[in-house]
Symmetry: C2
Subunit: 193 residues, 2 copies
């Protein structure tokens, strides 16, 4: 599991071998069953998480109990609730496994230490945060502006590899449309193609 992570760092960064091993050495591996929670709303997010295999989702619940998905995190990506992690306060969101998978966890103390000691890791972390901001802005614009048809088209275009891995109700909860609307959109698309 650590080897997959080290390969990822080798491909994505210019970190040297010694630093990569230092980062890997502090990781705690964990297996996740389908639907297992990594973080529950109200808990403090204590770890930075790298997904080696599987697929996680980050979601919030509205008072009526309906689920809204902020983010899907497939293999070779990172996840956490930033506000809860940075400030060590209870999270408004939950993170759970859509598929069985394997993740690596770093405690905040360990990861903060690594960021201090390894400037290239810090600049790589900064890049990841920036990309998250850019895509978050785009996602907000889509959420504000797009029709259900356009939202679904964008999703297929941006995340084709996720389409077959997700139940439709989760795609609907990610797009901010009802399952009924999603079914209508898909039906119309099938008829057109």
């Amino acid at each position: 599991m650590i080897i997959a992570f080290e390969n990822y760092l080798r491909l994505q960064t210019d970190l040297n071998g010694a630093d990569i091993r230092r980062i890997g050495a502090l990781a705690v591996p964990r297996k996740l069953r389908r639907n297992e929670f990594l973080l529950r709303e109200g808990e403090v997010c204590r770890h930075k998480v790298f997904i080696v295999s599987g697929l996680l989702r980050t979601f919030g619940l509205t008072p009526d109990g309906s689920e809204h998905i902020l983010q899907f995190s497939p293999e070779n990506t990172w996840t956490l609730d930033a506000e809860s992690y940075d400030r060590q306060i209870p999270s408004h969101y939950s993170i759970s496994a859509v598929e069985p998978g394997e993740v690596l966890l770093w405690t905040k103390a360990d990861f903060d230490g690594l960021l201090e000691e390894i400037p290239q890791l810090k600049s790589f972390a900064g890049q990841l945060i920036s990309r998250n901001i850019y895509s978050g802005r785009q996602r907000l614009l889509t959420a504000l502006s797009a029709t259900p048809e356009k939202k679904y088209e964008d999703f297929i275009k941006n995340s084709p590899e996720l389409l077959s891995r997700l139940p439709l109700r989760m795609i609907a909860a990610y797009l901010g449309i009802s399952l009924k609307t999603l079914n209508r959109v898909r039906q119309a698309q099938l008829l057109r193609s």
Copy 2:
């Protein structure tokens, strides 16, 4: 104008007087007329912007020409298009003045220099970015999940001071609802109260 900015830094950070003056010395003041653009879609965002007075909006246009507002920036806040600024590529968004106002601008080269030289400025900038991420997440959840009534209520709760400063069509463009729906929601609210 610089004095108002220096007071802001004194209140918000633990920067010392010499550093505050260094930051202020590189700022270029600019006055904005109502509806004047600071950045147009397709241009590169070349400056970090601090709003001394007035109110700016950041918005994107969809292919049908309708406007969707990502962010309002009142006095004592910062604005820019992060992706365009960081990577010096054309922006997908525009920034323009809702009210006449005064802003301070730093070129990327100047501000990057300040960030290098003044560690407390860097950590303050990091805090601002983090807060932006937290509130962006909350805003996305609202956009995905809330009814028009709830969106409007949240807006009144979170930004009461903006309500009287904005035309209704901009509030609708920020909430991702039509002007007609916003009018209906407001009408129902007036009848209830």
